[in-house]
């Protein structure tokens, strides 16, 4: 029983990280209808440069983290400004190609600037732990789940209790119409991409504190978050985020029960089964128009 509890704690924490990361993907998708393949690397920049700054350059850790977050914001906004915005309409797939290029660029540059090794990160509470009924819970787990819940709920309120959400979705669907209705689409986009940069940085720092940091470590998170997003639908809110948490738990359980090499096939079989069996209205992207 203790083991199962332990797995659940691990699964929920990892799932929360997927969810938080996915939140960043969602808001960007909603405002610019594009997928940023380099999003994980934006977070990586934050964590990896923070590591470099405090460990190699001797900056105080909080300052290093702050600089890292700032870098992520700058880079993410730059991706939008220099690339995504310049993609003409009606070119499906081009966003993937462009951001793939950026993904490769960021990876190579960071590897050149710092190095290609894996490094331990500040533990952020991973070493203060308590045992509850046979389950060991660390402060780090608490921080992860707490931050995730706070940020997601905050984002929900911001998007649904203010006119921001409407403007956001309006801009996403048709920037021209939104502008003609008086929405400052540019400012909205910039703000969203910047906010997504902050979220990426937070997730990347948390992940680094649980695993380690190098130029590649965020890619598995990116893939898992995308998976959750696509199962749940990138144009929804709670469903994909819940799927993200559930994915973390499911993954941990299959690895524990069926063995580690079953993790990958189990996750992907799940995708196929879910997408093949769930009712049609959950499967369709919500842009169906009547005949």
């Amino acid at each position: 029983m203790g083991d199962l509890g332990q797995i659940l704690v691990g699964g929920i924490t990892t799932g929360s990280l997927y969810a938080l990361f996915l939140l960043g993907v969602l808001i960007v998708f909603q405002v610019s209808k594009s997928i940023n393949f380099a999003y994980g690397q934006v977070g990586m920049i934050a964590a990896f440069s923070a590591w470099f700054l405090y460990s190699e350059q001797g900056l105080p850790v909080p300052l290093a983290l702050g600089v890292g977050v700032l870098l992520a914001v700058i880079v993410n906004s730059a991706i939008d400004y220099a690339a995504i915005r310049r993609i003409p309409e009606g070119r499906p797939g081009l966003d993937l190609v462009v951001t793939l290029g950026i993904f490769l660029l960021i990876t190579a540059v960071m590897q050149q600037l710092i190095d290609a090794n894996a490094h331990t990160f500040v533990s952020l509470g991973a070493d203060s732990r308590a045992e509850l009924g046979g389950v060991v819970v660390s402060l780090n787990d608490g921080i992860v789940v707490g931050l995730t819940v706070t940020i997601i709920v905050g984002a929900y309120l911001l998007l649904n209790r203010t006119s921001l959400g409407t403007s956001l979705r309006a801009s996403a669907e048709d920037a021209g119409i939104a502008q003609a209705a008086g929405v400052n689409v540019r400012a909205l986009r910039t703000a969203t991409w910047a906010a997504a940069g902050v979220i990426a940085a937070i997730v990347a720092v948390l992940v680094a504190s649980r695993l380690s940091v190098d130029a590649f470590y965020m890619t598995p998170f990116l893939i898992k978050a995308f998976i959750a997003g696509m199962i749940g639908g990138l144009d929804r809110f709670w469903l994909p985020l819940s799927v993200a948490v559930a994915l973390g738990v499911y993954e941990s359980l299959t690895v524990f029960i069926l063995g580690a090499s079953a993790g990958t096939p189990a996750v992907f079989l799940l995708i196929i089964v879910v997408l093949a069996l769930v009712p049609k209205r959950f499967v369709n992207e919500r842009n169906e128009v009547r005949a």
Partner: protein, 385 residues
């Protein structure tokens, strides 16, 4: 060594023959081109970059000392991004465009294996690549001369070492899913045969985002020893997860963990971890090791790492073969390689190649991580002994 007419050879050996007068590709009056591919970018780059640096340092030193027969050695090291087909393409580039004489070392198993069929076809000898695989070192690929053991042997020796000290009831292995992990498991099974020790093998896929399940599984099994053959990052991640749930068995790991880049970062998590040593400890009192450290530091201005050491010894063995070759062509280099018998580099265990023997070494040392140091427990452990 054999005479110039050694063209007969067994079915397994590379039968070019050594024509003393022939001048091989890449050889001019002033220069001998050698080359290889390594991962210089992507997730495998750490090892490749270190090895490259080691080779370049050695050749720089050698060239400063006058080279070989008055010729400078020019190493060309291309990036294969740890990808087999890229490696093969780059190897073609080296052989067909750059016209290298021999392949000098290499780093990474699947990528190097990608180039091997091509090298076999082109009959280009490859000297001491670091690509531990049971595919290599035998008669299947006669042009590849190994100077490190494969993972089967490595883990057999490592397990034997533990069995010599104590008699555990349970041991576990977490390995990268696929050939690497399977081989390590095979080695452990060989050592544990008829010893009554229970073995749990947990394959792991790189890119695991949560190590709690694996750690919990290990804890549940409750092995006294957990052996690991994972990337640096995943080794660190797993040990962290194990400590997060309060499970701290004795650990052992493959030779990659004896590198500074690992110990510096994850040493604190890995106290008392046994590691296989493919190369001599840099702290060793051995005169050749001391000489190496001094030479490397002189060339580069910094202390060497394990991968630097590997690169260095790859270059050293290549140079030695070129020195011994009766003519500067591939056939003669192969003949020279086959004459190596317990050749001491001071870095890897003594190297022996023969007509039908491409394995080079069958031993690893055993070390242990203590503090931020790697303490050598045994210089070399051979399977023969």
């Amino acid at each position: 060594g054999c005479g110039g007419s050694s063209s007969g050879g067994g079915s397994s050996s590379a039968a070019n023959g050594c024509d003393v007068k022939e001048v091989g590709p890449g050889v001019t009056d002033s220069e001998i081109k050698v080359g290889t591919t390594m991962p210089l970018s992507g997730s495998g780059a750490a090892g490749g970059l270190g090895t490259k640096e080691g080779q370049e340092a050695y050749y720089a030193k050698l060239n400063a000392e006058g080279g070989i027969q008055g010729r400078k050695i020019k190493p060309i090291i291309l990036d294969d991004a740890y990808d087999p087909s890229t490696a093969q393409k780059q190897m073609r580039q080296l052989v067909e465009k750059e016209e290298i004489l021999v392949v000098s070392g290499g780093e990474g198993t699947p990528n190097f294996l990608g180039a091997v069929p091509y090298l076999d076809r082109k009959k280009v000898p490859a000297i001491a690549p670091y690509a531990p695989s049971d595919e290599l070192g035998g008669d299947k690929n006669p042009y590849v001369f190994m100077a490190t053991v494969d993972y089967i042997q490595e883990f057999e020796i490592l397990t034997n070492y533990v069995l010599k000290q104590e008699t555990p009831k349970k041991m576990a292995l977490v390995g990268v899913a696929g050939n690497v992990g399977e081989n390590a498991k095979l080695g452990m099974e060989k050592a544990l045969k008829d010893k009554g020790v229970e073995l749990l093998y947990v394959p792991e896929t790189p890119g695991t985002t949560d190590f709690t399940p694996i750690a919990t599984q290990l804890k549940q099994f409750n092995a006294e020893h957990v052996f690991l053959i994972l990337t640096n990052a995943d080794t660190g991640g797993l040990l962290q997860a194990m400590s997060r749930i309060g499970y701290t068995p004795k650990t052992g790991a493959w030779a990659g963990m004896s590198d500074d880049s690992y110990i510096k970062e994850f040493g604190a998590l890995s106290q008392n971890m046994l590691v296989a040593l493919e190369t001599a400890s840099l702290k060793s009192e051995n005169a050749q090791v001391k000489q190496f450290v001094a030479d490397f530091t002189k060339q580069t201005g910094k202390a060497p790492s394990k991968f630097n050491q590997l690169g260095w010894v790859q270059a050293q063995l290549t140079a030695e073969a070129l020195k011994r070759a009766k003519g500067l062509n591939r056939g003669c280099v192969i003949e020279a390689l086959e004459s190596f018998s317990n050749f001491e580099t001071g870095i890897v265990p003594p190297v022996t190649w023969g007509k039908d023997d491409r394995a080079g070494v069958d031993a690893v040392g055993i070390g242990q991580i203590k503090g931020t140091e790697l303490v050598v427990l045994e210089e070399t452990q051979s399977l023969q002994k």
